[in-house]
Point group: C2
Chain length 335, copies 2
Amino acid sequence: MYASSIDVRKPWSHPNASYWDSFTLATWMSQQNLTSPLQALLDTVIPTVLSAEPGELSFLYTLSYIAAAGNETHPGTFARLVGTTDGAQESRIVGGTGLLTYGLADQIGRHRTFLNTTVQKITKVSNVYYVRTSNRDYIATNIVVAMSPPLASRIHYEPPVSAQRDQLTQRMFMASIGKATAIYDAPFWRQANLTGQVLSDTGVVRSTFDVSPADGRYGAILGLMEADQMRALDQSTETEIKDLVVKDYVRYFGPQASKVSEWVIQRWDNELYSRGGPVAIAGPGTISKYGSSLRRCEGNIYWAGTESSDYWVGYMSGALKAGKLAANKILDSRL
Amino acid sequence: MYASSIDVRKPWSHPNASYWDSFTLATWMSQQNLTSPLQALLDTVIPTVLSAEPGELSFLYTLSYIAAAGNETHPGTFARLVGTTDGAQESRIVGGTGLLTYGLADQIGRHRTFLNTTVQKITKVSNVYYVRTSNRDYIATNIVVAMSPPLASRIHYEPPVSAQRDQLTQRMFMASIGKATAIYDAPFWRQANLTGQVLSDTGVVRSTFDVSPADGRYGAILGLMEADQMRALDQSTETEIKDLVVKDYVRYFGPQASKVSEWVIQRWDNELYSRGGPVAIAGPGTISKYGSSLRRCEGNIYWAGTESSDYWVGYMSGALKAGKLAANKILDSRL
């Protein structure tokens, strides 16, 4: 597979980077003489992995995303991206993912953590940065902007960032994703020896996971709405979405699936500070021309967020890695 | 040609829109069995017309851009886009293009025109919009945002714009362009019966125009730096650029071209309120999925700018047309 020849620290330096970045994943697929079941499988799997259709994705970007699904000793593979066992979808955090951010905030110190505070402008005056927020101003000597490139562009920088960095932020865009979690009195599918895990080529929810608590005291099915399916429902009411999703769940798990006791619907496309998800992706002509600006600091402004990671771009693991990379650069600059 | 089948008011409604928007112009070109001179010609012409490489452009977007190079009775053609006589490059404004904006400001009234005033936030409270700028606040019942989509996204909207509109602004990006105008004591090339107009497949400037005043009291050659050529020079000094460009001009017009009396270098990529140019363009997966948000108002916020026009998208004519379309919508809403 091509992905193994890509250096995750600089996919743009690959000898074929410019060529691979001049066409879409859809174009590549159409040239492989895929059997129609394989074509259908990829058309189904790609949106569940990248929350985008093959026609939105640069082939180079897709390869670099696959290459990033590994580490220094285990090159990334497509299997690890899509896989549950030993793959990207293996683990959940007991108690909920939110605990991660609370844990980080505790380490930093809650008194140093400011919530509901929107950064509006970052102004450099000699060697000091003034950060204007919706609440108050801050002064800093180093700044880590841990946001997706499209959202980072909505902060005003003075002096402006380089043309390269700005163009990168203009070109990368958030994928489209939402979730619909149905809560049941019990994880009834387990009695039928079903895993609760689905991959489907129809429906508004085409992939599901059993997210019931480990002790099974209640049941929960998480379904993802992605790419074209999510886009079509960005403007719908939650009632309309529930009506559509429950039909999918009955089709997947039987009539008991209609007895939902509670719903959790979340559409990141509509969230002011997400505007899509789970990650900013790239069409043709982005990574080969501007990829090096993903991690190149501008003055003492360092860029983090999962898009800036080398490994596990698009995942929480990548976000943590990118944060550490940025922090280490700041520490190095002080030596 | 496919372009003639496209409705410029809604290219996304074409039966092939989704397919044509799943690959790049480069992909289409590679499938045409072009002779290598024709391939080279297109590789040269495309950046001079769209300020982008074929591998950055959606095929659907390119078709709609061509379709827009006309009017209700004359369908757009590629020839009119690239042409001088009877084409997009035919006319200049005596006295300079800036006169257009001064003329418009005079019509509106200078006391109603606010310069050096950056709009930061637009907040809707019941039926009134509060516009916060870098200087003072304004109140309005209708707003026309006449900016390119990527720059319009840097204003904060409360309530937020729809997911569709936001995604459009995330995906469209400014092309890359700059100009290098060399001023000479006289338009010396005219003595040799040269037009001063060049199209070249090498050099940092690959297209030039004679922009001397009509009476020829001095000479001026305007050269455009576009796409990959411009990107490569975004960070260069003006001296470096002049040194490169003068080599091109000597190659095109002979040794006299080295005697430049004055230079005007302008790189829109580096301008805070342009960030590229001349227009925001689209890669695959943008126009078919989000194009309808180019012109759809959000509450009483109307979108203008040349990207929102039906005809002559990318040109001043399109910008004026889009402004009129928006103004007419507001007038209609008051009936």
